[in-house]
Point group: C2
Chain length 470, copies 2
């Protein structure tokens, strides 16, 4: 995408300095560079200015000046996104809300919390759990991702199988539109049908419609008990049949994570009770009242045994649970060590098609000679398919493999992204899933919120300059 002109940037710098004071601005190359990328393979683009907002007023002023000077703005909180959403494609301003990290309210009577966008997710988990409450969304980046980004991307995580995703917990939010107009959306009540559901529209809009300044989040009661099971299988097909068996019996573990042989290989570097001959693995977690937990645990274990698990191991202590989940969280970096480069795609198919998807991934790998592995939230049909390679000359084949995967996923009535968003990386493939009319309609909606396409331009909708780092 074309970079904003230096003249506009200079004008914006002067006005921002006057409006916000120098302490909230970064303009030196060395301090700007870390704001040029996120945790994806998107090519970095260094911004011209970083605004470190401390209040809604800072955000209003920044967006007013951006509109006045025609300088693009890319919102950012934790910068932990996986599709380039926080990369400032056209340069200009990165508007960072990481410094707005207050939990403004935790209300046990109404079971809700009010938060600023810079609150780190795991801090929020701990704060509400101390009050006997629970906020289910738990992307693996919980230790460093921020709620602002979680809302922008509609983050999921392992517990989504039972509890749903971020959007299911956003009652309302405060947002500022390009130009500086603040808006209160949604409600503090669990129900409400007054007007269009712009809160739902804002969640998952990847920072293209407004900048989030506050969110009202629904909480639930903290489950009394949690149990974790590690079940190993002779093949990924057998593991898949266990998943179908759970669904048929109406069992809803709160997590249902699947790892194929390749992902399991990466897990062998951790200190876990893994069978030498296991070729697939399920991590299951149940929660609730003690007697219900015990009953679920038994039923899940039986179902695994019946389909032919090589072993079923129940974590006996909190530290065993923690070790297991630490390994799951570190799986992505562990996979990274298996080859010089990796790319992880976040596709979803209707849950019954998981075995077909895994077969298809194997076929694509064979055909393109690109090494693949897969793991993820099998209960939701949401798998992270990883492509691994060592040499640049393999890149064209990697790109062929990715496009083949997306086409198969769409043919199975699946979707391109379960929880990472479209961002920069998947924008070129949007047309595989959505009709030209639907894409055009969304662009018109974007125009209502941001007539000059200054807010996070280049995201979701394809532009000519879209490209991956590889």
């Amino acid at each position: 995408m074309e970079r904003v002109s230096a003249a506009r940037v200079e004008q914006a710098k002067i006005l921002l300095d006057r409006a916000l004071g120098g302490s909230k601005l970064l303009t030196e190359a060395v301090s700007l560079e870390p704001y040029g990328y996120d945790r994806s393979e998107a090519a970095p683009v260094t911004p011209d200015i970083v605004v470190r907002a401390k209040s809604i007023q800072d955000i209003e002023k920044t967006l007013a000046i951006a509109q006045e000077t025609g300088v693009p703005v890319t919102p950012r909180s934790g910068g932990s996104g996986k599709t380039g959403g926080a990369v400032p494609s056209a340069g200009g301003i990165v508007l960072c809300t990481q410094g707005m990290q207050n939990i403004l309210e935790i209300n046990p009577n109404d079971m809700l919390a009010v938060v600023e966008p810079g609150v780190i997710l795991s801090d929020f988990h701990h704060a509400v759990e101390r009050e006997g409450l629970f906020y289910p969304p738990d992307p693996n980046s919980a230790a460093y991702c921020c709620l602002g980004g979680n809302l922008a991307e509609n983050a999921g995580g392992p517990r989504a199988f039972k509890y749903g995703v971020t959007r299911d917990y956003v009652l309302g939010c405060e947002t500022v539109l390009m130009g500086g107009q603040p808006l209160q959306l949604g409600k503090r009540t669990v129900k409400g049908v007054t007007g269009y559901d712009l809160t739902a529209l804002m969640v998952g809009s990847e920072g293209t419609l407004g900048v989030l300044t506050k969110a009202t989040l629904k909480l639930i009661a903290k489950p009394a008990q949690v149990h974790t099971i590690l079940a190993q299988f002779p093949s990924v097909r057998v593991a898949g049949s266990a998943v179908s068996a759970f669904v048929r019996r109406g069992l809803v573990p709160r997590c249902l994570e699947l790892l194929d042989a390749g992902a399991l290989e990466a897990l062998r570097t951790f200190n876990l009770p893994l069978d030498a001959d296991a070729q697939a693995l399920l991590i299951l977690e149940v929660d609730g009242e003690p007697n219900q937990c015990d009953a679920d645990l038994e039923q899940l274990g039986n179902a695994c045994d019946e389909v032919g698990a090589t072993s079923v191991w129940v974590a006996q202590s909190e530290s065993q649970r923690d070790r297991l989940w630490a390994a799951r969280r570190d799986l992505s970096p562990a996979i990274r060590k298996l080859s010089a480069h990796k790319l992880s795609e976040d596709v979803v198919v209707p849950r019954s098609r998981i075995p077909d998807l895994l077969d298809e991934v194997a076929r694509i790998s064979e055909k393109t000679t690109v090494r693949t592995l897969a793991y993820g939230h099998a209960g939701d049909g949401n798998l992270h398919v990883n492509f691994l390679w060592n040499h640049d000359h393999e890149i064209p084949n990697v790109n062929l493999a990715i496009e083949a995967l997306f086409r198969e996923v769409i043919a199975m009535h699946g979707t391109l992204s379960g929880e990472h968003g479209i961002g920069i990386l998947k924008a070129p493939y949007l047309h595989l899933e959505q009709s030209p009319e639907l894409i055009a309609l969304q662009k018109q909606i974007k125009q209502v919120f941001d007539p000059h396409n200054l807010l996070n331009p280049g995201k979701i909708f394809p532009t000519s300059g879209t490209h991956r780092a590889c």
Copy 2:
């Protein structure tokens, strides 16, 4: 609102007759009249033409001709709405989808169903339950309301406390825009973050953005057991404290219905085990695995006893359960018999404010001398406040009472409508809850979908001609 001109209507009639054939059109006054009202107090407006659509093609053609001739279209399925959403305010065409009543798919593996808009909700409940599946939304009109209207209004019902509302079960939908463009929105997977969530925007948009032709609905496993409790209390305050006690203990009954003294009075005409001295009542329902159900039942019963219930009665058979729910469903008509006129408002407050809301209703009643009663989904903070009167000279006071109620609800950070929508009846009050900027933004979004304001005009957003029947 101004009625569309006779010349335009004539032109539309000719084109519709040519495109659809006469058998799908109604144009005689006597057959048009039943399409002029819904189940609300909105003043009837007889349409000029009714199209009885049988297919998406009929809908596409109708919306193309409407746009071409400039004739407004009001979509309608069951016509059981409570705020005038299906009343054709500007005359023109009523586009009725009640004849599209196929359940196209029930898929136990992917736990979803695909339905047409004219499917009656209770038929759908029975069909999915025969497969061991469950669709939770259950407005009291289940026996005659249609899924099309449920989606348009984002219907709720008693089970929403545990299971959420209609929007939580809509994975995707097919809709036709004014002008005739069909669009596929959403997905067949439980997760998905590709582009803006236009499915969520469409659900609850009250037929103002598009005409629904198909929906993909998420299903869950049918609960193994259900138990129903009738708990009676010496005052509505004591009943309210029972609700707080449940929430504090993390108990989530699937239904948590509250009736105040006035509503309880209306219930006394039914054959139920009611205490002579009870002044408030809770209907509680738990579901799940047998041992969990039993544990929940005991905990709920204990909590009711501890706060001072006059009695706690557990339904011992399916027929006792049915009798209780039949009475709850017939409560609205039973209340109607208490006076010549009644108006029911559907407000929501944060759940801890229910006792304050009930006090406020009593104060408003005293001040305006209008008789009131209240009942509804206390777990969600969603109460139906009824105003009763016998003589026309009381109407100004009724209107004062309604506005006072809305102002108090907003002051408590509540919302004007929990599940009935805004329609015609609440449009004049929209500004109490939403800022002018938010209303303007929604109108601009409406314009993207329907540039000439021909699809269900006069709904949600206030127009000068808005009025109630009373």
